[in-house]
């Protein structure tokens, strides 16, 4: 088990072994969060910049706390307060951050590939915290971690991802991670949001929600992204909820040990009934706890230098 990457840009280019390395490392960091003293000195003296050019609360806070628990310094840089409004380019912004000796840049951007671009123009380690509709690797890693913790494994499980797949970087990263780890992934939602082209990523596509969740071990709900939605993708929220929303009646027809996940923020009453979101089969808040552990693990692994893993 070894890790030699400098950046975490996507899940697509990771091997199954690398994904498992992150999950195993995160297990140890989750235990750190349960101690009285929740801080370790692994990134002492390092500087992490949260470069969020698209609004985010939970991912930003999660990275912020992860960096602090590793004893790194962290600076937040957000779109509205930034020089982007004054016309500075992404490259110039990143170079300025580097001039402040940033060791890590955690970037969220509305353009796919922005983190990859940054990794070519600066020396800092780049972590993709979501780029357009492309990928959100730490979300997929925390989801895989949560599934493995509850089911003991990932290979062979039926995972159904339900909702707005087309615009979802969470879906893409999850599909990569879960299929690499041997899960059988089913995608479901309106045909406009779940085109058949996703079958090329190695998953099954269906538009019948009851059939999609019947044999599922994990039901992974995605938020309807009002901000990315064009009005023409489906007739209305009410119709979406009727046809694809997870409610008690639908849940009653699933396997009794099927678990529910959602990356948040939840639109209660749209993609999921309010009381189901809070039921004991829901892992939504655990995903948040695990997100912190996974992000600590990612920072820790990327911090490793070159050379062999073995200590002299």
């Amino acid at each position: 088990m070894s890790w030699n990457r400098k950046h975490l840009l996507d899940i697509e280019s990771l091997t199954a072994d690398e994904i498992v390395t992150v999950l195993d490392t995160a297990r140890a960091f989750k235990l750190v969060g349960e101690r009285a003293i929740k801080k370790v000195p692994a990134l002492r003296g390092k500087t992490v910049v949260n470069l969020f050019i698209e609004p985010s609360t939970r991912t930003r806070i999660s990275f912020e706390l992860a960096a602090q628990r590793l004893t790194a310094d962290i600076v937040n840089f957000s779109a509205d307060a930034s020089s982007f409004k004054k016309g500075e380019t992404l490259k110039d912004t990143a170079r300025n951050l580097e001039a402040l000796n940033a060791d890590f840049i955690v970037i969220r951007h509305s353009t796919s590939g922005a983190p990859h671009f940054l990794s070519r123009v600066v020396n800092a380690s780049i972590i993709n915290a979501g780029d357009g509709a492309h990928e959100h690797p730490t979300q997929a890693l925390l989801d895989a971690f949560t599934i493995r913790e509850h089911k003991g494994k990932i290979a062979g499980l039926n995972v159904t991802i339900l909702g707005d797949i087309l615009y979802s970087r969470v879906a893409r990263s999850n599909i990569w991670a879960l299929t690499k780890l041997g899960a059988k992934v089913t995608l479901c939602g309106p045909s406009t949001l779940v085109p058949k082209t996703f079958e090329q990523m190695g998953c099954r596509v269906t538009h019948d929600v009851d059939e999609a969740i019947r044999d599922a071990d994990i039901i992974h709900l995605l938020r309807i992204q009002h901000e990315r939605q064009r009005k023409t993708m489906f007739p209305g929220i009410g119709e979406y909820t009727n046809l694809f929303g997870l409610n008690k009646a639908r849940l009653a027809k699933t396997k009794p040990d099927a678990l529910i996940m959602h990356p948040g923020p939840v639109n209660r009453g749209v993609e999921i009934d309010s009381e189901i979101a809070d039921c004991e089969r829901s892992l939504i808040l655990e995903q948040v706890t695990n997100g912190l552990a996974v992000r600590m693990a990612v920072l820790f692994l990327l911090n490793g230098g070159k050379g062999p893993q073995e200590v002299a």
């Binding site: 088990m1 070894s2 890790w3 030699n4 195993d24 490392t25 297990r27 140890a28 960091f29 235990l31 750190v32 101690r35 009285a36 003293i37 801080k39 370790v40 000195p41 692994a42 590793l70 820790f300 692994l301 990327l302 911090n303 490793g304 230098g305 070159k306 050379g307 062999p308 893993q309 073995e310 200590v311 002299a312």
Partner: protein, 176 residues
């Protein structure tokens, strides 16, 4: 590559552990205050074995924990990220005598990291160090309290401790 030299075979490892256990018992009259804390990957296996022997000597259960020290290492910038193992400390260390257990005592940096890591769990009354092999080359002012075997080595050599590997006898070997 020359054949590795066997430094300790399985019975010799067991004898060394029995002797260390008696030395720990001699040093610490009240067994009730002692907890063993092993450093993965091999130190925790040795700690559990020592715990068993000590429980027989003292006629009381000796608590054993596992302490991963990777997050407290001072060489994290100079190497690929180390493999981390879960830390399990099922007891309070404050006011107790903690015997750190490791397989090979070399530069002393792992022990320093372990003492730092231990700090996050409380304030032990004493910390003692038990190692199976002391190979020398200390870089820090740290010494072991209990040593299974002193083995003079060249800095380029490697000492490997193999325990609990299926279908293989326990052994300690020196690789040139």
């Amino acid at each position: 590559m020359p054949e590795p030299t066997v430094i300790l075979n399985a019975p010799a490892i067991q004898r060394a552990l029995t002797r260390i256990a008696h030395e720990i018992a001699e040093r610490n009259e009240s067994g009730a205050e002692v907890v063993l804390v092993g450093i993965p990957l091999m130190g925790d296996l040795l700690a559990f074995r020592l715990g068993k022997i000590l429980s027989d000597i003292w006629k009381l259960p000796v608590p054993v924990g596992t302490l991963d020290v990777s997050m407290h290492r001072d060489d994290l910038d100079h190497r690929a990220a180390p493999t981390i193992h879960p830390t399990v400390m099922p007891f309070d260390v404050t006011g107790r005598t903690v015997v750190l257990v490791d397989d090979v005592f070399f530069t002393g940096r792992t022990t320093r990291a372990a003492m730092d890591a231990l700090n996050d769990f409380g304030r032990p009354k004493h910390i003692q160090l038990a190692v199976l092999i002391d190979r020398g080359h200390r870089e820090l002012p740290i010494r072991a309290d209990f040593v299974g075997k002193n083995v003079p080595t060249a800095i380029t050599e490697k000492v490997r401790v193999r325990l609990d590997i299926p279908n293989q006898p326990d052994e300690v070997v020196l690789e040139k």
